[in-house]
Amino acid sequence: MTSKPILGPYSQGDILRLGAAMAVTFLVLPLIIQSDYWYSSILIPWLCLALAAIGQQFVMGYAGQLALGAAGFMAAGAFALYNIELRLPWMPFPLALFFSGLIAAALGVLFGLPSLRVRGIYLMVATLAAQFFIIWTIDKFGWFKNYDTSGIITAQDIVIFGHAFTSPLEMYLVVAAVVTVLTILAINMTRGSVGRNWMAVRDMDIAAESMGISLLRTKLQAFALSAFYCGVAGALFAFTYLKSLEPVAFDIKLSFQILFMVILGGLGTINGAFIGAGFILLFPVVLNTVGNAWFHGMIDATIISAIEQVVFGALIILFLIYEPLGMAKLWEKLRARTFGMSAVRPTVPADLAQKP
């Protein structure tokens, strides 16, 4: 049986796990990790990409709309934040970040409109428009880059209450705080009526409509919230990880990476977004380290990166066939086996592998 919720949608176990995760994020890691490399090259991008993956989860994992353009919305959020900081310097950073997300959300609604007419692979192609249109607009109109010709614009400092958050640890704490808040909100929504409506539309749209769910509102809401999360993620990604703004950083490759994070991590799960982002980000690092340690440069770096692609492709195929619910499900099964607790949570979708 499912553990009983004691506070909102959370069971006692959920609260313990969430508390433990927050303690590790805000206390343990900052105390034990001294190396800047870990903050600026692993933890910060991991949290940013996980946030974008949560956005992708909303629209794809929960609402079932095959969308591919997360990086476009990330670019929108990043350049929105840059322009707000540039033109409205009086605005407090958290508010500026929020508005950047809102701008991305507005674009999300616009590019979500095709979902009302087309679905599946056709929708995927239609949403690619977001990817290309947003990047093209930023490149085409100099205003967005403040007529900078160098190609790379330095991101402004993050200043909150007069304090500039410039060291890797400080930036990590800013990112972690934003990601924590948005993750909790995401869990609240996906475990509540918002998530149920999305999943109903995903699983059987005509029945959802017959229960009084407006497909228009529900789909556009998923697109808007998805783009909001991607926009905030993109803004943080540019300001804390890249520390610069360049449209190339948000190309289609990044959109695909976020798509893979969601598929590998587990469709329709929030923890899957974190697991998937961690895997996609760390896998090349691990492969590189292992390659260097074992073969001492016998293997060329280009071959290692080629192996990386091959292994990625193979993993995605294997996951789609054998564990369509992704690593989040594997983790739950493992936990169930180790601790003997029930892995089934009511909101976790069961058989994604609908054989056509």
Binding site: G192, S193, R196, D203, S210, M211, I213, P349, A350
Partner: protein
Amino acid sequence: MTQVRNFSIGGPVLEVQNISLRFGGVKAITDTSFKVLMHEIRAIIGPNGAGKSSLLNCINGIYKPQEGKILFKGEVLDRISPNIIARKGISRTFQNLALFKRMSVIDNILVGRRLHMSANFLQVAFQTPAATREERENRERCEEIVDFLEIRDIRDTPVGRLPYGLQKKVELGRALATEADVLLLDEPMAGMNVEEKREMCRFILKVNDELGTTMVLIEHDMGVVMDISDNVVVLDYGKIIADGPPEAVRTNQNVIDAYLGVAHD
């Protein structure tokens, strides 16, 4: 029927007036009219392809008939869309199961409470007192339905994993959760064994007796139809060939001809 009904049959609640539905050159329904009375159980029967499901789909707003109109509580249903019609108080089940397969039984039923929940996404995200109260109250209603349908043991199972008969039960549960005035049940007992059918009949009658819900159901099992329905509409080739109480319909020559397959003119 021997049960005591809390609600006696009243005036017309749903009026289908001269509707015709065509798919290209195929006439699914031709100039069909009938009235469903308040609190009654109305069966729609007829051979395969007679247009029964199409008729429900017209009432429910999935199809838009080319001619005619449908009145609900005296009001013409003209803005045809299933979610608008759901808001007016008509809910349904589907012939080929339209459950949310990857969601648990309780979550499926909770979706049926959609129109009783008004918290917006911000209220849900921030878990405002109004949103949590609404969620708790609606969950309680759904737990009652789970108990009523005797499906507590499968409460948390994703419905895609359940056998057909249980899925039919869950779909009825989801329709009941809407607390709609009129339920359209498209073959609620198809593919069930005698035992399951008897159980389903018991639920349908109990809901009708206790809550007064008007039921319009499509069913092939004549025994069931004769037992539970107050009135029966018989469709053949998209036309009504009989309309009345079960006994009258059973002896109607047109109906006998339609079922035994007499050549049409």
